[in-house]
Each structure stands twice: as structure tokens, then as C-alpha cells.
């Protein structure tokens, strides 16, 4: 073992004085990873035996003790679809306003940013209550996929806006200068030159937002409801995957096995969303924009 200067050490790579700090940081890191692997292996251990095509496609029976999660997956997908469709344009627009049309230290910009940061820290049950009062009752959407999706959109927005704004800000200032020097309009500059540069930030914000939203059971309990039938419209109530897991493990005696299986599906979906979004950010968008 040699240290950074190439000197030969005592075989452990660290001097005695450094051993304790090194031990502490390593054990902290191992502890964190261990907790993650423990949870993951617990879910896989209990859940993998029940996963089948049948489980994924069929409807739940006997309050979820038997059958599958087909309608629940569809509802979850619809809720996420609604929230992305609403959050993406609003988030992109706000991020562009903050980064391209206001100065970083302007009072307006600071106010918007501060309120977004506070919003990001609001507990999901508060969002749920807001969604229940505003979307379900005031706007009359009732317990529905639509009000659930809109509530999730509100929760996704803060993190989506902030990370997209950072994406825009990290685009080189020279692009803006030379675009101005070439007489390009602001619209062209933003959508043809800066957006490709900000795309990874946008994707990361969306992943983090969706990942977080999918797990927010409390907000969805209040807004999209409990019904585990196959939804026929966005105004139907639809049970989300996280709600299903909560219900099976807390309210249904003998529902633990299916709860584990559902949790395994949820975790797998999150991993897949992660991989796809990074792929889009790193390859597809960049290639499309650079080589037409």
C-alpha cells in the first residue's frame, strides 16, 4: 500500500491517527447500504414467490388476499400520467421564467424560490388535505384519478422546477451571448440551444419527483380513493399501488404476502423509471438534437 505521495505505508494504507475517522466514515456508509439491502432483500424474499403474469394482470379478490393487482397498476399509471402531463409544462415554464427572465437576486425570483423550497418540505398529508378540499370538493372532482394526479402534480412541482432551473443556469453563458450576437430570438435560444443543455436536470427532477410521488400514500388516500376496480375514466376513483400496500398490511388480515408482492412491483417500477429517464437524458435527447 502506498499513500498519495507514493510512500510505502504500514500495510493498512492509513496512519494510526487516521484509523478512527476512516473507520467511522466507512461504517456509516456500510450501515446505510446495509439498511437498503436489508429492506430490499426482505421484500424480494417474501414477494418474489408470488410474482407471476397472473398477479400483474388479474384483479384483486377477497379484499386483496387473493388475485392480482392489474387494475391498481392501471390506476397508478393514470395518476402518474395526469401528474406528469400537468407538472411538466408548468414546471418547465416556471423554470424558464426564473432562469432566463428574472435575475437570480431579484425580489420576485427569491420569493418564488423560497416558497418552492417551503412547499417541497410540506408533509404529504397536508398536500392530501389540500387536494381533498380543493380538487375533490371545491372543484367537484370527487375521489378520482384526476384529483389524485393533480395533487401529486402539486407535490412534484417544487423539486421539478428547482432542478430544471439549475439545469438552465448551468448552460454556458457564452451560448446566450453568441445567440444574442447572431440575432436569435429568445424562444429559439431557449428551446433549441439551452433546453438540450438543461434536459438532464429536467429528467433528474422528474425522476426524483415521480419517485417521491409514487410513495406518498397519504396524499392519495384523500384524493384518488380506495376503489380497486379497473378505472373506466379519469373521474373514477382508483387505488394507487402505495395505497394498496398500506391497505393490505394495515387493514386486511392475512394480506401480508400480497403486500410484499405489491411492494416488490413498486420498487421494480421505480428502478425501471430511473433507468429509462437517465437513458433519455443522456442519449436520446442529446442525439436527437445534435444530429438531425
Amino acid at each position: 500500500m502506498r499513500d498519495v505521495l507514493g510512500r510505502k505505508g504500514n500495510g493498512t494504507g492509513v496512519s494510526k491517527r487516521e484509523r478512527l475517522p476512516k473507520f467511522i466514515v466507512w461504517s456509516a456508509a456500510i450501515l446505510v447500504s446495509a439498511v437498503f439491502f436489508l429492506i430490499l432483500s426482505n421484500i424480494v424474499w417474501h414477494g418474489i414467490g408470488q410474482i407471476s403474469w397472473e398477479f400483474i394482470t388479474s384483479a384483486p379478490e377477497n379484499a386483496g388476499r387473493a388475485g392480482g393487482i392489474g387494475p391498481i397498476l392501471v390506476s397508478t399509471g393514470l395518476i402518474l400520467g395526469v401528474s406528469v402531463a400537468v407538472a411538466l409544462p408548468i414546471g418547465l415554464g416556471t423554470a424558464i421564467l426564473l432562469s432566463e427572465f428574472t435575475r437570480r437576486d431579484s425580489i420576485f425570483g427569491r420569493m418564488v424560490r423560497r416558497s418552492l423550497d417551503i412547499l417541497a418540505g410540506v408533509p404529504s398529508i397536508v398536500f392530501g388535505l389540500f387536494g381533498f378540499v380543493f380538487f375533490s370538493n371545491l372543484l367537484g372532482l370527487g375521489f378520482s384519478i384526476l384529483s389524485g394526479g393533480l395533487t401529486l402534480a402539486c407535490m412534484v412541482l417544487p423539486i421539478l422546477i428547482r432542478s430544471t432551473e439549475e439545469g438552465f443556469r448551468s448552460a454556458p453563458g457564452e451560448y446566450r451571448m453568441s445567440a444574442e450576437a447572431l440575432g436569435l430570438s429568445k424562444t429559439t435560444t431557449i428551446f433549441r440551444i439551452l433546453l438540450p443543455a438543461a434536459a438532464p436536470g429536467l429528467a433528474v427532477g422528474l425522476i426524483l419527483g415521480i419517485g417521491r410521488a409514487m410513495a406518498k400514500t397519504a396524499a392519495l388516500l384523500y384524493t384518488s380513493g380506495y376503489v380497486d376496480r379497473m378505472p373506466t375514466s379519469l373521474l373514477d376513483s382508483g387505488r394507487a399501488l402505495s395505497t394498496h400496500i398500506f391497505d393490505l398490511s394495515m387493514n386486511v388480515a392475512g394480506g401480508n404476502d400480497k403486500a410484499y408482492a405489491s411492494a416488490l412491483v413498486l420498487v421494480s417500477v421505480l428502478v425501471v423509471i430511473n433507468i429509462i429517464s437517465f437513458y433519455i437524458a443522456n442519449n436520446w435527447l442529446r442525439r436527437r438534437i445534435m444530429t438531425i
Binding site: 435575475r103 454556458p172 450576437a181 447572431l182 440575432g183 445534435m290 444530429t291
Partner: protein, 278 residues
Amino acid sequence: MNVLLNRSGAIYERAHENEDRGRSLSCISTRDLSLYYGTKAAFKGVNLSIKPGSITAVVGPSGCGKSSFLLSLNRLAELIPGCRVKGIVQIGEHDIFDPDTDLTSLRLSMGMIFQKPNPFPLSIKENITLPLKEHGTVGKNELDARVENVLKEVGLWDEVRDRLHTPALSLSGGQQQRLCFARTLALEPKVLLLDEPCSALDPLSSSIVEDLITELRGKYTIIIVTHNLPQARRIADYIAFFWVRDNVGTLIEYGATEQVFNEPENELTEAYIKGIRG
């Protein structure tokens, strides 16, 4: 050898073409031009009259306001937060700070090249066609012809003709800078503002870009900011020498290149040119 001969032949022909075009260019003059960042002046009271079709080199030590001067000529300085410009810049008869000035056509008539090559993260071809399309050129054949013409003008065509659709950022630094020249020239400016266009390049690329600037002489009015005195002497017809006086950039001397280098009027200029100060 053959290549060299052909090249100088081309330069000779181009010099004649350039003379014809040069007649349509107008004089650029500044009167009492000053620029402030907040309350601090970057340069003050610059009076300068630049001959159409000539190459004028702006030289001087760091922080003397050379680059800021360049940015004030096409009003890009206004984009910098807290920046104010005072005075008059006239192109022909027109004052660019007049409220009626159309910023887009001002920027189109004054192309600008920056120190660091900064092609957009698009393909080589798109870097040229994006600004062209924005300003109304739409036909595919016309676009293709323009791309080929400007790439030939900057001597890049033979190097990139087979890979026009690859990312511009895959080019070398010198090629990227020539691409930046190409996308600017495609818009047919009358004036070229060059902000140390060679200083971020390796010596070989730098000399290629320098040759390119020389070939553009007469066709455009060129104002080039440079730190490189031998380069200024090689390419410029006129020298504008800036110096920092009382913490503010000031124009000290302006004149024909050989005169400034051989018989400078100001002793500061003499000291700077001989390498004693600056």
C-alpha cells in the same frame, strides 16, 4: 507547394472582389463613449473613427476596457446586469443608441466572434442553418448552398464536407472557431467584432485563423481585440492603444500600424510596444 500556389491565387482574386464590396461599407465612429459596471467605469471618453474595410486592432493591458469597448459597439454590453453605456456610436449616419434602432438588424450587421470557440451543441450544419432559418432563409437548396459557401470561405469545407451532421463540439478548437466565423459570415454582416479570437487556440490553429482574418480584409470592417502585439502588427491597418489611467480605461493613441509601432506619439505606447510596461 501546389496547395500554397493555389491558395495565394485565391487570395489575390479575393482581394479584388473584396475591394468592390468594401465600397458599400460605412464608417464607424464613437464620440465620448463610456461604459460603466455599476458605478465603476470600464473605459471613458473614447473618440474613435474607424475606416470602412480596414482591420483595426485594439491593444492594451488587461482590464483597460478593450473587450467592453467591443461589446458596446453592437450593444451586447446591455445584457450584462448593471452595465450602462454613455456617448454616441455612429455607423454611417445612424446612431445605434437611437430608440428607433432595431437591435436584431444591428446585431446582424455587426457579427461577433468570442475568445472561446462556442459553437452550439448542434450539428456542424445546424450551427449555420439555425441562424439563417431564424432570419428568413428557408429553401433547402439555398441553405445547402449558403452552408457550402461560408464553409469554403473559412477554409473548413474540405475538412467537414463528409460529416456535416456530426456534433460541432466534436471538432478541434481551431475548427470550432472557424465554424463560429462561418455561422457569423453566413448572415452577411458588414462589420466583424473579434474579441481575442486566437488567444484560446494552439499556435497552429491560431495561425490558420489569423490567415482567415487577413483574407477577410476589405470585405468587412474588422475590429479585433488582441493581446498579441506581433499579431496586431502583422494583420492590422490601424492600432488603437488603450491604457488604464486612474483605474479607468482610456484610449491613448490611434493611428496607422507602422506609425504606431515605429514612431509612437505617446510615451506610454512606446513603453508598452517595447515591452517595458504592461
